[in-house]
């Protein structure tokens, strides 16, 4: 299987996308670029990401990347989202460099979610001050 384009990790994540789904929450973004569509939705407990879910239209690497991100970021501070980078993800999943453009769309979605959470928090903070 030397030409198998998918690592064992990608195959496992694609076969069991435990975080696939969507939640009714204010923290939800949809990024549509390069023929890839990623939706991320999160619930927070204070500043901590309580639950993170994804929906994706893309190749198996994109689906696996989305599942990997949800697994990695649940329980982490929401502040991590805005400067999230795909370097570790690319290595962990052994994503071919030709597909890095698609994985960057996933990165965009994570950062967009971080920005959406920050905006909501800022507005909520201002409302409390008012």
């Amino acid at each position: 299987m030397s030409r198998d384009p998918y690592s064992e990790r990608v195959r496992a994540l694609f076969a069991s996308p435990l975080h696939a789904g969507s939640m009714s929450t204010p923290y939800r973004v949809l990024v549509d670029d390069q023929g890839i569509r990623i939706e991320l939705s999160a619930t927070l407990d204070g500043d901590v990401i309580q639950r993170l879910r994804f929906r994706a239209w893309g190749c198996p690497h994109v689906v696996a990347a989305a599942e990997w991100i949800c697994t990695q970021l649940e329980g982490e501070s929401a502040a991590r989202l805005q400067d999230f980078a795909i370097t570790e993800l690319m290595q962990s999943l052994a994503v071919p460099v030709e597909k890095s453009g698609r994985i960057l769309v996933v990165e965009d979605a994570v950062r967009a979610l971080g920005a959406a959470i920050k905006v909501s928090s800022t507005i909520a903070g201002q409302a409390e001050q008012d």
Partner: protein
């Protein structure tokens, strides 16, 4: 014949077929010191014995095609046959005109040849078939010109299975003084052909689509006073210098044997394939958003091409494992371009991306079809649940 790889369910017979065990036995008998390994061009007993195998193979293939053995040129496969036919004919007739005609939905082994000829100064008209994949004869007639020298139309499309009426197309070409080349890689040994009764001048074929070995094909060249080909290869006098090189006797004998078996099995094969294809389509046709790409009434029954909305092709392909099927996208890491054939039939990029080609073969069982139905339904349901477009 059963699938040796028990962990796979192979439904990609349009890509290639396994070698029939009887064919394999024929080929193995010709290998090694005990076999008839001589050079068939040699002027001694070993050469003559080898040559007899080549003659038998040509007779068998000629019988399958409804033509005489001396009209066949051995090549390495359909790609080489297409190159030799199209380039050879176009170059030989260039002094008479430089206009050529083909279809947008031809295999790359044809379209890329025409593009190469365009770079040599030939003018090509690219015909678009109807939404069902069938070429309208009026479209062809409208494209023909006084300087049209060659028309190339495939018999059975490799992605949709749709077949063209090559009898009428041939009549149209000859009425306008043009040659007709037919890429029949997907139809030789699968659909009845009687070349002696058709206005077909050149026909490409390959052994590995009909349970023969890879690496051997043939080009049929009709006997017509105005039909000549310029060779692409030089280096010997074999095959009237049209395609020089030592003939690969075991491969040729295997091709011939596969052709003989195909001639015997064709009608029963067709009945079996039709039953299985109809069962497959009946098992998935109720899925919401499913679309049949092609036309069941004008298709080779061993092939079914379907697409569903909201499902990405590469992910569908992986979710379908252990099914071995083909997707409608080029589908590799470098190129996510949807099938140009399906795009030419009017499918959107997304629909073409989600297209799957099931191709059924002689060894396919009903259990395998039932497994494919279950696997396809499950994969589509899972991926749709995951799609932002469906559940948002």
């Amino acid at each position: 014949m059963t699938n040796a790889a028990a962990d796979l369910v192979y439904l990609d017979y349009a890509a290639t077929t396994p070698v029939d065990p009887r064919v394999l036995e024929t080929m193995l008998r010709l290998q090694g010191v005990q076999g008839d390994f001589g050079n068939p061009s040699a002027m001694h007993r070993a050469g003559w014995r080898s040559h007899a195998h080549v003659e038998l193979a040509a007779e068998r293939l000629g019988a399958l095609l409804g033509t005489s053995a001396d009209r066949l040129v051995w090549t390495s496969g359909a790609t080489e046959s297409n190159n030799l036919a199209i380039i050879g004919a176009a170059r030989h007739r260039r002094h008479r005109g430089r206009h050529l005609v083909t279809m947008l939905t031809e295999h790359k082994a044809v379209t890329d040849v025409f593009r190469a000829l365009q770079r040599e100064g030939f003018e090509v008209s690219w015909l678009r078939p109807g939404p069902n994949g069938v070429l309208d004869l009026g479209t062809l007639q409208a494209a023909m010109r006084a300087d049209t020298q060659l028309v190339s139309i495939m018999h059975v499309n490799n992605e949709t299975g749709v077949w063209q009426d090559i009898a009428k197309i041939g009549e149209c070409c000859h009425a306008r003084g043009a040659l007709l080349h037919v890429d029949a890689a997907q139809s030789v040994g699968k659909l009845p052909l009687a070349l002696a009764e058709l206005s077909v001048d050149l026909m490409s074929m390959t052994a590995h689509k009909l349970y023969g070995p890879k690496g051997i094909g043939a080009l049929y060249v009709a006997k017509r006073p105005d039909l000549h080909l310029e060779p692409l290869l030089f280096g010997g006098g074999q095959q009237q210098r049209l395609r020089p090189g030592t003939l690969p006797v075991p491969l040729i004998a295997g091709f011939g044997h596969a052709a003989a078996i195909a001639a015997d099995c064709m009608l029963s094969d067709l009945a079996q394939l039709r039953t299985l294809r109809d069962r497959l389509w009946a098992g998935i046709s109720d899925l919401p958003g499913i679309r049949l790409n092609g036309d069941l009434a004008m298709s080779y029954p061993g092939l079914l091409n379907v697409s569903v909305a909201d499902v990405e092709g590469e992910s569908l392909l992986l979710a379908l494992e252990p099914l071995c099927v083909a997707t409608g996208s080029a589908c590799n890491a470098q190129n996510q371009e949807p099938s140009y054939v399906l795009r030419a039939l009017g499918l959107s990029d997304a629909a073409a991306q989600g297209a799957i080609r099931f191709s059924i073969g002689r060894p396919t069982t009903r259990d395998e079809i039932d497994f494919a139905i279950r696997q396809y339904r499950h994969a589509v349901q899972v991926l749709r649940t995951m799609s932002p477009d469906v559940a948002a």
